[in-house]
């Protein structure tokens, strides 16, 4: 067994994760609350935060806005591929390190695909301002899956051969059945999962349309889960096809209806990407990578996050025409009778 780095747990250890769930009230109770309450009740300084979605799909943008508004220190962020969620949290650290800090990131990819690299990742990474641990998309997904399964690790065929095993807590062992090397990845059990979904009931049963990402695994692995949803529906509607439920209620602690909660990213059946807004926001951070001024970025945060009470007020800053256009674009990709 090769040991590349010392073993330690971030978030909860497997035994702590089990204990957290055993002691939790897992019954059906009305979990509706404001996002302000959900964030203040379930997130603490130092927490490991599991971020749902995939790149700009169903990122928990509204919840990250609220986290910035309230301010948290020494966070660990865990995700496979993310875009706006870590960007919002990290850029807040760039302008208000007294108020928001990220200590560590466990990730496969932080970037914006066709919208470019992440300037906040470059800024923090290239200045050595945060710890991080590189994995792949399957590695992180499998780590959440191990956490969701109540296992301390999961075997995978990667990472093997490259540098990921050299810079992570991967263990490589000879398979006791085949004799060939196989990687063992430590489970990830975040303190809190942030998940945005298309629909939920008040108990926390969630329906996800389009890609599931790794949302169910993150929610099941975490000690607490904050769900934001586009639609809040009656339990009877949500359970009318039980197999549509991606996350069952006992895994959820807070349910908050937040229309456009993943915007300017995309949410299947609801809205397509607002690429202009994504590029505009990244454009405020980019100059800082090369040592430019933070003023424009500060102004943005003051106006869109610190200066408003709720994410709804941020959404109201968009032109109705644009919101409707992004809804219409999405309606073309997954056509359904209303």
């Amino acid at each position: 067994m090769e040991n590349s780095t010392q073993m330690f747990w971030t978030g909860l250890s497997p035994d702590e994760a089990r204990e957290a769930l055993v002691n939790k009230n897992k019954s059906m109770w009305d979990k509706r609350m404001s996002l302000k309450e959900a964030v203040s009740r379930f997130i603490k300084n130092g927490d490991n935060i599991g971020i749902g979605g995939f790149v700009h799909v169903r990122q928990p943008v509204a919840t990250c806005h609220e986290m910035v508004r309230q301010g948290f220190k020494d966070l660990t962020l865990s995700f496979q591929s993310a875009a706006m969620a870590p960007e919002i949290l990290a850029a807040a650290m760039m302008i208000r390190p007294d108020h928001c800090t990220i200590k560590r990131i466990e990730l496969a990819y932080w970037g914006h695909e066709s919208f470019g690299l992440s300037p906040a990742w470059r800024y923090l990474g290239e200045r050595g301002m945060i710890e991080f641990e590189d994995w792949s998309n399957y590695n992180m997904s499998a780590r959440f899956k191990a956490g969701a399964m109540g296992l301390p690790f999961i075997p995978t065929r990667g990472p093997l051969g490259g540098d990921i095993p050299n810079t992570s807590r991967t263990r490589v062992m000879d398979c006791p059945f085949t004799g060939r090397p196989i990687a063992l990845l430590p489970a990830s059990n975040p303190n809190v999962a942030l998940i945005h979904v298309q629909a939920a009931d008040m108990y926390g049963n969630c329906i996800i349309r389009g890609t599931d990402g790794t949302c169910a695994e993150i929610a099941m692995a975490s000690a607490h889960t904050i769900v934001t949803c586009e639609q809040l529906l009656d339990h009877e509607i949500i359970t009318s096809n039980p197999k549509d439920i991606a996350i069952p209620f006992p895994a959820v602690d807070a349910v908050v209806q937040v229309p456009f909660g993943a915007y300017p990213g995309a949410c299947r059946r609801h809205y397509y990407y607002n690429g202009d807004e994504i590029l505009k926001f990244l454009g405020l951070i980019s100059p800082m990578v090369k040592g430019g001024s933070a003023d424009a970025l500060k102004t943005w945060y003051d106006e869109h996050i610190f200066g408003v009470e709720t994410f709804g007020e941020y959404i109201e800053t968009f032109q109705t025409r644009k919101l409707i256009a992004d809804q219409a674009a999405e309606a073309v990709h997954c056509q359904r009778l209303a």
Binding site: W110, Y138, S141, A142, G158, G161, T167, R180, A216
Partner: protein
Amino acid sequence: MTVATDFTAQELIVVAGAKVLEDNKIVFVGTGLPMVATLLAKLTHAPGLIPVFEAGAVGPPLLHGLPISVGDSKTGTGASYMKGLNAAFELTQRGFADFGFIGGAEVDMYGNLNSTMIGEFPDEYHKPKVRLPGSGGTADMAASCERTILIVPHERKKFNEKLSYVTSPGHLDGTPGARQKAGMQGKGPYRLITTKGIFDFDEETKRMRILYTFPGETIKSVQAATGFELLVAPHVAEFPPPTVEEVRLIRETVDPRGIFVKRAA
């Protein structure tokens, strides 16, 4: 089939990428130019090509055009399976993906790719010169697709003897059976497509080998832009320029908004 005279380096790469793809095979498609090449292949010689996207979609017809992300809603519609990342990578690890189609910021002579960092490793890992996005799904596709097709823009600083970081393992150090010994599956890098030509990997040494040069390039000019010694296939051919029809398809149908294929040469 008139040959185009007005085409960009990216358009050429897309056409070459499409032609490498075989009809009726399953290809796990990375973000960016691989998506464009895949759509072009489906619209031309490979209508039965089956794309898989890491966010979960298996075999979508892509009727609504080019996705701007591998998690784009456009990948989901009409797909034959869609269960999230674990499911997509599990089926790849099982052996369902004939090809993986991936890019990187840096490549070495054995087809290993870097998309993590530029700088000295390991000293600068936690404070690199340039922090790149990270593996995403490329390390997984590299580890478990049966063969991989690589796309890297051909610049000397991207073709190096030693990578800053091996994110996505190719033929490793080229020794026989290196991938299997390391515990990986599949045959590894099959083709590399750059802005200067198409390459394969020598059967014996697993070293990068020129197969085709692109219009305007020679073996010598390609070698000059490469930071290690290239092998040369017995009969290097010139890859034909794209046809007018191919260029029109890319500009008008595949990527009309220039999301990945930029208009500037």
